[in-house]
Amino acid sequence: MNRLAIGRRAALLSGVAAVASPSVLRAQADPIKIATLTPLTGAGGPYGPVMAKVAAAVVEEVNAAGGVLGRKVQLVSEDDQTNPDAGVRAARKLIDVDKVSAIMGTWASAVTAAVAPLCWESKTFLCTVSGADSITLLPHQGYLVRTQPNTLLQVTRAGEFLLSLGAKKTYTLVPQTPFAQRSIEILAEVSKKAGGGHGSQIYDDKKTTYRTEIDQALRFGPDAIFCAGYTPDTIVLLKDLYRAGYKGKILGQAYAVNQKLVDQIGQNEVVEGVYTFAPSVAEGSTALERVKKMSGLASPDPYTSQVYDHTNMVLLAMAVAKATTGTAIKDNIRKITQGGGKPVDNAVDGLKAITAGEKVDYAGASGPCDFDDKGDILDCKFRYEQIKAGKATLVKVA
């Protein structure tokens, strides 16, 4: 009994000693904290885990090469559940408890829109892969960049692609999201400019059947239907479109109409001929090769490539700033992504160059990563595919 009491006291004492030791001393050993906030569950569940994995791989590489500014980097990963409420709770924890200086990888636009104000108010830098136009229009004071093309760019390209297939009369079916209204307006404009017409409907993504919605859509007699939802609701939509005997063209976002969707529907003729589009990764780049190795995927999705870029850019910006705060990242991120300098595709090489006093120009796995003042990327290619016999086949990259 006695021994046990002493043991416990000793343990307590050592704990107190650790806490009481001068904070400066601990700060030296303290790692730099950054975070991923990706959807490990929910509609984004197929993407979030591998995104977090690749970010961790980048951090591991950097730590193995000596860290940033002589300090180790620690990555904290949280799950936003593809749900704004859960995203805000997780972001609060990252900001208030972990005190990270950057949050990377928020996926759904609704989540990003909810998390962004917490970030700019706490001067935490936010890198996102969400596309809604409204996101970069938020008063984020520079504390936000996104590597995903915005709705305007995406839907304009989608509309032009549909036109190239001969579809002038288009119909948008989109769930209630931050990009819903804009998607409708943009596709309407593209179709009408080409002399066609456009109809639309915003639906509830929690329904188990869309029969009535589809009856509405088919009354319009569209050449092509743009299904702009996520995987769970798009599965129901495609099944109901097939049941309804719709024979026109269908275009969906590649993040929704993916292999999971095809497997889940389980009947190839239901998805036969459906077109998909997505911002293309930087095909043929050395950065993409690195992402392939880190993720273990033969063709990494755009989000995984983008979060690879986020992690590299954040760490490089810290090195240039010689400081690790969110504000330091904000003020320096464009110094390492654009404006010329030694081309680099990973943080380890970039950090070496920066230490040697060189200017670097990062171009990553998702593209050149050049940002305008609002935080939008300046340019991006798109990849169009069509599902044939249950497999996505490339139509073109443009």
Partner: protein, 286 residues
């Protein structure tokens, strides 16, 4: 006109599917006297239990029986261990506990099956048409199964001993106890059958779409609204409520757009609670 008729038909189909879990929910309320919100988790559990059974080669009816048994057993266990001990403190603590157990169940399913969407491997067929009205043979089949389940439940309530004692207990527990009906047994039966129905409802709703751990949560509001609309505690009321909610949700698509579908449920609850708090058919258990 055609589109209205079509919406009506669609509403009847989804109403029939909704009626099964709504009867379960309301029957439990009648006997146990608290709204058991763990139906969200139980519906998910039933959908997955049925999914496993169906994948193992059972036919739809057999899979429904598995969904019924597993959902009923787990529901009974939760009621005994987590909810009933709290009912003595009032309906609210028990209701809150049931929300919690629903969340636990949802996450247990998530641990076991992951977040992926799964579909019953059922062939998807083109719709049949009569004039301009189209209907899916599969949906009619599912609807027929739902109606058969409802008939069986009503027959059991009307003609069997346990059904009669359930109704008696719901009507007046003290008097029923005086007559020799053991309230404990009736309560356990209500939990088992009620949750079993909810589990089958989860599977029926999943048959035509897809299932994931949030399946039950998505239909919770509609189930609750149907039960409140018909009169909490009344099984025929739940059926009526389910059909009305089903039709109203489809009609709302035409009138105000699909994005406001969830508002239909809340609106129905609001109207009923302010104009006719006992619901359309009152509280009579049968």
């Amino acid at each position: 006109m055609t589109i209205l008729l079509q919406a009506l038909l669609n509403g009847l189909v989804s109403g029939a599917l909704l009626a099964v879990p709504a009867i379960g929910f309301t029957a439990m309320f009648a006997v146990l006297r608290f709204p058991n919100f763990s139906v969200s988790g139980i519906a998910t559990l039933g959908a997955f239990a049925g999914y496993v059974a169906y994948a193992a080669g059972l036919q739809i009816v057999g899979s429904l029986a598995v969904a019924f048994a597993i959902a009923g057993a787990v529901g009974l266990f939760l009621d005994r261990t987590a909810h009933m001990p709290l009912v003595k403190q009032g309906a609210l603590p028990a209701a809150i506990a049931s929300i919690a157990s629903g969340l636990v169940l949802e996450n247990v399913v998530r641990l076991l099956f992951g977040n992926e969407l799964r579909g019953y491997d059922r062939p998807i067929a083109r719709d049949l048409r009569i004039g301009d009205i189209r209907f899916s043979p599969q949906q009619l089949e599912t609807m027929a199964i739902a109606l058969a389940i409802m008939l069986a439940v009503f027959a059991a309530l009307a003609f069997t001993r346990i059904g009669k004692s359930m109704r008696a207990s719901a009507d007046n527990p003290e008097l029923a106890a005086l007559k020799g009906i053991r309230p404990q047994r009736v309560a356990m039966m209500a939990s088992f059958v009620g949750m079993g129905l909810v589990g089958m409802g989860g599977m029926l709703l999943g048959l035509d779409s897809s299932i994931d751990p949030l399946t039950g949560t998505r239909i919770l509001l509609s189930i609750f609204a149907a039960a409140v609309l018909g009169g909490l505690g009344s099984a025929p009321g739940a059926v009526l409520g389910a059909f009305l909610i089903g039709i109203a949700e489809e009609a709302a698509v035409l009138a105000v757009g699909s994005a406001y579908r969830a508002a239909v449920g809340f609106f129905a609850i609001l109207i009923v609670l302010s104009l006719r708090p006992r619901g359309l058919l009152g509280e009579r258990a049968f």
